[in-house]
């Protein structure tokens, strides 16, 4: 084997089979090769491998068996969420001085992919916490961080990101929820929709319009608020019945004369749009990781089935039509994984990762749907049936092309970034 094959083999083994690492001889050679590779590495640290191992064990032993019944009943998987919280698998981004672990986005992505393998409904409920917390992490002052992030590490609480409205999803600048300053408070009126954890959150990050002038630019017209869920006037609607990720709690929320103290404004009036968008650079890689986890599950279920089911005298995996399907699924999963890892690594290095984050989310969302569909295909008639695990994957996968920025919005962002680079 050539040296590069040794290293690649070590990487593959390390990522999926948790081996102890490359052989001693390859390790010595790696040091020499490192110079020419310029520090680029696919190796996880020991701590990352251990984190991944805990998340993988939890997902496979506790989430996988419970997921089908949560999918059927739509019941909120609080016992699983509580368990994840106890194990430290949630709220990883919260800074250490607020009682959290201050993990980077890369570590969070590793954990998210493993949880999503178990059930993306559970993973979305957990991920919504990160999304709601991110504006506070990036834009909150010390008092806000200690108050709202601190409480998340003391007990298993949920939070939510309240931006989307019935009339405005992709067009965030088109939101109509109004916040009017009255003395030391803001009075908020409006309607939000498709809020994950809407009915379970202890507090929300809310984006509302503070400048009524229609000519005012988006970068100055909106303000970000932290809203306690038990504030009078906050009315969560009914739990929406969705195609997939059915155990996740998604609701509309009505805000009727809700009074928010000015201490709960993030940064200041008019800073909201930038905060809301800035959060996405950090939350898109984990969403891409979630989609990858689903695709990995589809690949594993399909592979297991293909090695058990026989037709025309052979295991179906021995028929090229099926093995080619599996090969293409494997290609997509590996590439999606590399894409989200790059996006997460970039932002952890302190660089703007918008281009990579959008690529990762767009690609992972698309391949998650393709892999889930192909998995159903490999299962044949059984795949269409609810006794087998893959039809759930198809239903769960669709939302990855919609939330956290639709597939079309991602393409808008990528083209804008790409053309911007070219013009320089």
């Amino acid at each position: 084997l050539t040296l590069s094959c040794h290293i690649l083999a070590g990487f593959q083994a390390g990522l999926r089979f948790q081996s102890t690492g490359p052989q001693a001889s390859a390790r010595a050679a790696t040091a020499a090769l490192k110079e020419s590779l310029g520090g680029f590495s696919f190796e996880l640290t020991d701590q990352q491998k251990e984190f991944q191992e805990v998340a993988r064990k939890f997902a496979r032993e506790e989430i996988v068996p419970a997921a089908p019944s949560y999918d059927k009943s739509g019941e909120y998987p609080f016992p699983l969420i509580k368990r994840a919280w106890e194990l430290g698998l949630m709220n990883g981004h919260i800074p250490e001085d607020c009682g959290g672990m201050g993990l980077g986005i890369f570590d969070a992505c590793l954990i998210t992919e493993e949880l999503a393998f178990g059930c993306t409904g559970v993973q979305t409920a957990i991920e919504a916490n990160s999304l709601g917390q991110m504006p506070v992490i990036i834009a909150g002052n010390d008092a806000q961080k200690k108050k709202y992030l601190g409480r998340m590490t003391e007990e298993p609480l949920m939070c939510a990101y309240c931006v989307t409205e019935p009339g405005a999803g992709s067009d965030v600048a088109g939101i109509k929820t109004r916040a009017v300053k009255k003395g030391d408070e803001y009075v908020v009126n409006g309607q939000k929709m498709w809020i994950t954890n809407g009915g379970k959150a202890n507090w929300y990050f809310l984006l509302a319009r503070t400048d009524p002038d229609p000519k005012c630019s988006a970068s100055k017209a909106f303000t970000g608020f932290i809203v306690e869920a038990d504030t009078p006037g906050v009315q969560p609607g009914r739990k929406e019945l969705n195609m997939g990720q059915r155990c996740s709690d998604t609701r509309g929320i009505t805000f009727e004369d809700v009074r928010i103290p000015k201490e709960n404004v993030l940064i200041g009036e008019g800073a909201g749009f930038k905060i809301a968008m800035g959060a996405f650079d950090k939350t898109r890689p984990p969403v891409a990781a979630g989609a990858t986890g689903l695709a990995q599950r589809a690949l594993e279920e399909a592979t297991k089935y293909a090695l058990e089911r026989k037709t025309f005298g052979k295991f179906i995996a021995e028929h090229q039509a099926v093995s080619f399907l599996l090969a293409e699924m494997a290609m997509k999963v590996e590439l999606a994984r590399m894409a989200y890892q790059r996006a997460a690594w970039e932002v952890d290095q302190g660089r703007r990762n918008t281009y990579y984050a959008s690529i990762a989310k767009a690609y992972a969302g698309d391949i998650a749907n393709q892999c889930a569909t192909d998995a159903v295909q490999i299962f044949g008639g059984n795949g269409f049936n609810s006794e087998y695990p893959v039809e759930k994957l198809m239903r769960d996968a669709k939302i990855y092309q919609i939330y956290e920025g639709t597939a079309q919005i991602q393409r808008l962002i990528i083209s804008r970034e790409h053309l911007g680079k070219f013009k320089q």
Binding site: S19, T20, Q47, V54, K57, E86, L87, G88
Partner: protein, 264 residues
């Protein structure tokens, strides 16, 4: 007023826990083509499940403030440090890595390991040694018993329940006939059976804290132990392929077939 001996034992009690790095239970084992052993390269390894139960019991005793310090010990090459780290993440206080590698590691067995543990028990002034009842790779079920014999300590093996009562350990043992309860004096050796407890997950914050805990490297020679083996493995084979059975229609046919096969 507690007797002086009891106070000495519990306030400063130190527990040694042995943890073995073995091929993960879920892996499909393959015999090496040269039939000298099984394939271990690139294969997933983890802590022996019975060792996990042993660590859990030790950490539980520490949480109940019945013992002061839990020391995780493993014998093997560099990679066993991962296993020690897992024990630290579960709550052990520090680790000892007894370096054994290469040919010595391939032939390392219960006799040598028990000599190492006996030496460490004396060196660390341990009051209690908890081991898994057996390892899932060799299924020897010998190390605990040999260690107790070398130290001339009492032993409570196949423990499904362990309680500290004054200066004695009450151990409920799972035996073929049912459950046997014994009381043994400390210091003692206990080996953990399946139903002793359910091992905890290492939580992420504990994994991070474990990085700060110390692992000390020791060589068998430093402990005065000779790790050379008195056993030679001649060959390793897979079990014979299971032959397919024959279905019979009636009880009469079954009896006939059994008679034919000379079974009855």
């Amino acid at each position: 007023m507690l007797p002086l001996r009891f106070r000495r034992v519990t306030m400063s009690a130190r527990v040694l826990v042995g943890v073995k790095r073995v091929i993960d239970y879920a892996v499909k084992i393959r015999v090496k083509p040269d039939r000298t052993g099984v394939v271990t390269d690139g294969v997933k390894h983890s802590m022996n499940p019975f060792c996990e139960i042993a660590v859990e019991e030790a950490v539980k005793l520490k949480e109940k403030k019945l013992v002061k310090e839990v020391v995780a010990v493993s014998c093997g090459p560099q990679q066993v440090q991962e296993t020690i780290r897992t024990a630290l993440a579960m709550g052990a206080d520090r680790g000892i890595h007894v370096e054994v590698s290469g040919k010595d590691y391939e032939t390392l067995g219960p006799l040598q390991v028990s000599k190492i543990f006996a030496a460490l028990a004396k060196k660390e002034q341990a009051d209690l040694i908890i081991l898994g009842k057996q390892a899932i790779d060799d299924d020897c079920n010998q190390t605990g018993q040999m260690t107790a014999a070398l130290l001339d300590w009492p032993q409570g093996t196949f423990a499904s329940e362990v309680t500290l009562e004054a200066d004695k350990l009450k151990v409920v043992r799972e035996i073929d006939g049912g459950l046997e309860t014994i009381k043994i004096k400390l210091p003692a050796v206990v080996t953990a059976d399946l139903r002793l407890n359910t091992p905890r997950y290492a939580t992420l914050p504990n994994i991070m804290k474990a990085k700060k805990k110390k692992i000390v490297n020791v060589k068998p020679a430093d402990l005065g132990v000779d790790v050379s083996s008195r056993l030679e493995v001649l060959k390793v084979d897979e079990p014979p392929q299971r032959q397919s059975g024959v279905k019979v229609e009636t009880v009469h046919d079954l009896v006939e077939k059994l008679k034919e096969a000379g079974r009855i």
